[in-house]
């Protein structure tokens, strides 16, 4: 197969596995760390957004409404996070179920504690 300019062996058109690896860059099955960090950042931002609502605009956004939104959003984010990691690792030998369980469990407990004790 002819490879894009800069890859392969100078006009021969052949591709080696090293060329293919260089074209791929970071493989998706190795992105669990970045995906987990993004999920935790999204969860923290969700808390920040809802907290700003019930601390600064309590007349428009009661704390209970904020926590309701926070819980629903956390569930949606967790589903997206699990999808991301599972789809990226399917068909490979990688398995990050422990990391996923830890992140989702941690945010579940955190969401519960925040919903019970913050903003009242």
């Amino acid at each position: 197969m002819t490879l894009p300019k800069g890859f392969g062996s100078g006009g021969g058109g052949g591709s080696s596995s090293a060329d293919v690896e260089r074209m791929i860059g970071k493989r998706v099955e190795n992105m669990t760390g970045m995906i987990t960090a993004s999920y935790l950042a999204a969860w923290a931002a969700t808390f920040g957004g809802t907290a700003a609502g019930y601390f600064y605009y309590p007349w428009a956004y009661p704390t209970n409404s904020g926590h309701f939104a926070f819980i629903i959003l956390t569930i949606i984010e967790a589903i997206g996070y699990i999808f991301c990691v599972k789809v990226m690792q399917e068909g490979s030998n990688k398995n990050s179920n422990g990391v996923v369980a830890g992140a989702v469990g941690g945010t579940a407990v955190g969401t519960l504690l925040i919903s019970m004790f913050v903003g009242f």
Binding site: M1, L3, P4, S15, V20, M23, I24, R27, V28, M31, I35, S38, A42, G49, T50, A52, G53, Y57, W59, A60, Y61, S65, G66, F68, A69, I72, L73, I76, E77, I79, G80, F83, C84, V87, M88, G91
Partner: protein, 187 residues
Amino acid sequence: MAQMPALIPKEVEIQRLKKLWLIVIAMGSTAASVEVDNFVDGSLHQTSIRDSAFTPAHWWLYSHFITLPLGWAAAAMYDRRIPILRGPNNSINTGLKMTILGYLATMFTIGVNEMWHFWFVEEIFAVPNHWMFNMGVVVAFMGALAYVVRVYARLVELGAETPGENPYVAEMYKMALEGKLYSRSIP
């Protein structure tokens, strides 16, 4: 099942399609959360007046008018690395074009909407300035659906995803891969 010609090695294409998939899943989460906010926003407007454009239910609602266009822009830029997803005459993918047009309409409507609410009436769902929000989002989602089905069909074709076991769904993917569904007629 028709096999589309590959311009880049199969392994590279699968990895790139999956990186695109990451962006799409993140945007899917955003879209799902905004679906929830439709109810939050609707219930807020039944009980309180529109004292500001920046009530919390609006932060949530308007944030997707920023995140989804930015996300689709990222998808459109990354999309250039996957030859099979190019549109006619090597232009941008037609589904992506529709998505961008739809979000341009909604971004324009944010301004129109603020003017309308400043001069005229309260937050009533059916006021005309909201029509363009809804139409823009629907156009954007239609384009996005065509694009996502195309990406998924290509992953099936490359053997990286398993098509649905439901015979009707399997038939749909087969038609998509044979160019008889919109995922080929909208390249």
